[in-house]
């Protein structure tokens, strides 16, 4: 299947790697190994570890009081709230879409499937700025529905609905693209067995399919949520940057930074960096489960349908 994407952290269909040879494979001399490990680690420290450490160092540079004041100030709290709202709407919507798309694509063979798969990945290849722009073209004052919205006193752009829409767009493929390869790999046998035994569609979904894909689903939700809370470019275009009203956390960071309130900017940034670390830990833990689920036999001969581990 096509799995082109610009947001890669994905469960690569794990072929359980067998220990290929007990005999010692030809290896590089020790000094080459040490050199390569050294180069890799220096590169990763410079480009990954130092930026991460900087966020926390700068956040606490002026002391814990400044830090606490920055994250408990009312505009900061409003930005946290808006970020939670945006993610709280975008993640469930894309979750429902992901399940529906995965059910159709993985369980059925239909014309145009390949095209649909490519279209689902489309939002990953669109610049976030353009993702914001397209909604301005539709809902902005000069847009298709601009006048109609104004006449009915509704606001999408420079308001919360626009921010939510932009967030939905940039996180669109996450859940679908985790579920589809797993459900394709698992095949239809378990569901068909349940059907023959008289289960209804919803029963099949809740009792057979969902338990089989729950970890991949969670994995998709974790990635989707991380992106939803951290999105900057798309949200920036549609936000209007009204303090305390249409600023998400990343936008609030930008404002503080541009006002030279560096300690405060990094304090709010440290919350998002902490979220990123939590995301990485959860991702790591769930990844193990997804791999286990991919390898697990789907129907064990003796067990009843749906009773897969």
């Amino acid at each position: 299947m096509s799995s082109t994407s610009l947001a890669l952290p994905r469960v690569t269909v794990p072929v359980a790697v067998p220990p290929r040879n007990a005999l010692a494979a030809p290896a590089e001399p020790a000094w080459v190994r040490r050199l390569l490990i050294g180069v890799a680690l220096v590169f990763l420290v410079l480009f990954l570890f130092v930026p991460l450490a900087t966020v926390f160092a700068e956040a606490f540079k002026k002391g814990i009081d400044v830090y606490l004041a920055a994250i408990s100030e009312s505009d900061a709290l409003a930005s946290v709230k808006l970020t939670l709202i945006a993610a709280g709407v975008a993640v469930p919507l894309n979750l429902v879409f992901g399940i529906a798309a995965a059910w159709a694509i993985a369980k059925f063979d239909f014309r145009g499937k390949q095209v649909l798969l490519t279209l689902i990945d489309l939002p990953f290849s669109v610049s976030p700025v353009i993702a914001g722009l397209i909604y301005v073209l539709i809902f902005g004052l000069q847009g298709w529905f601009g006048e109609w919205l104004r006449d009915h006193d509704l606001k999408v752009i420079f308001a919360v609905p626009g921010i939510v829409l932009a967030t939905v767009f940039v996180t669109f493929p996450f859940v679908a693209r985790e579920l589809i390869p797993l459900m394709q790999a698992q095949g239809n046998e378990a569901e068909e067995a349940a059907r023959v035994l008289g289960a209804s569609g919803w029963q099949i979904f809740w009792r057979v399919t969902l338990p089989n894909v729950k970890w991949a689903l969670l994995y998709g939700v974790i990635l989707c949520n991380a992106r939803a809370m951290g999105e900057f470019g798309a949200v920036s275009v549609v936000s209007g940057h009204i303090r305390g009203q249409t600023n998400t956390m990343p936008l609030h960071i930008e404002i503080l930074y541009n006002e030279y309130q560096f300690a405060a900017a990094f304090a709010v940034a440290s919350l998002l960096a902490a979220l990123a670390l939590v995301t990485l830990v959860l991702k790591y833990l769930v990844e193990q489960r997804v791999h286990a689920q991919m390898r697990a036999p789907l129907i064990e001969p003796q067990s009843s349908p749906g009773a897969t581990p």
């Binding site: 890799a40 990763l44 700068e58 767009f169 960096a273």
Partner: protein
């Protein structure tokens, strides 16, 4: 019922096809397809000469040069170091390897604005790294390159890892038995196997870098003609209420993104054939 009758290739006892596909198509159209087509339709408000003048004006061309140049250089650096990182993670045991492996995904998890201000602080004149460098990084085109290296880093590593894990070690033994040095084995046996994946990772990093905004604008300095990236130019035009101009540039970027998407699809198909599927 219409969908299942016209589209399904073979009978399937499972229910829910119409509901699932119907909802998926509706949602896809509303969120992605119709809004994206708005960008293309909007450019028809311009005549061809107007469109051409907008997308080839000197300031816009300068931004293409920076965006493409920095993205290409960053993807190249990521290809080289990504290969080393992936190789080390797959082949060599060392303490803390799991943590390092998990940390590779940091650029995906860390919001771009956070990465942007952190990199700017590090590479500023008095920053942790900037103070040791004899040249300026923050607020120059070099800063754009640094930010793009950061955000593109995981693509090459994560594309290469599974392929490297699958390389048949017996081939290497055969090469060694036949008298090849380790370096020859790498160049003639391993490298050809991973080339498609390496190119895919490069293309993914490059495509991501072209559209990147959040991490770049903080460190770039955003001087017109010098350190202004194309996505920023779109925003600048929008803020001047030049919707047609913003959309024209966006359409150019979209077309390039779609061409890259196609290229990446072809590369991945090639990669799958080369490594024998999955």
């Amino acid at each position: 019922m219409l969908l299942s009758r016209t589209l399904l290739r073979r009978h399937n006892v499972l229910p829910g096809f119409d509901l699932a596909l119907g909802f998926a198509l509706l949602y896809l159209s509303l969120i992605v397809l119709i809004p994206l087509s708005a960008a293309f339709l909007r450019t028809f408000a311009l005549t061809w000469p107007q469109f051409w003048d907008t997308v080839t004006s000197p300031r816009v061309v300068a931004s293409y040069r920076l965006t493409f140049g920095a993205s290409f250089a960053a993807a190249l650096v990521n290809a080289i170091f990504g290969l080393i990182v992936a190789w080390v993670l797959v082949r060599y045991p060392f303490p803390g390897k799991r943590v390092v492996d998990a940390l590779v995904d940091l650029p995906f998890a860390l919001p771009t604005a956070v990465a942007g201000i952190a990199l700017t602080a590090i590479y500023a004149k008095n920053g942790w790294i900037g103070q040791w460098l004899p040249f300026k990084v923050s607020f120059t085109p070099l800063g754009v390159f640094v930010a793009l290296v950061f955000i593109g880093l995981p693509f090459v590593v994560r594309t290469l890892q599974p392929v490297l894990e699958d390389v048949n070690r017996e081939l290497e033994e055969v090469a060694a038995t036949l008298g090849a040095t380790r370096w020859q084995t790498f160049l003639r046996v391993i490298f050809p196997i991973v080339t498609p994946a390496l190119l895919t990772g490069f293309a993914l990093a490059f495509a991501r870098a072209l559209g990147e905004y959040g991490s770049v604008i903080f460190i770039a300095g955003n001087l017109p003609m010098v350190s202004e990236i194309t996505p920023l130019l779109i925003i600048t035009k929008l803020e001047q209420y030049d919707y047609a101009g913003a959309t024209a540039i966006a359409v150019v970027m979209l077309v390039i993104a779609f061409v890259l998407l196609l290229a990446i699809n072809l590369l991945q198909a090639w990669s799958r054939r080369r490594t024998g599927g999955h």
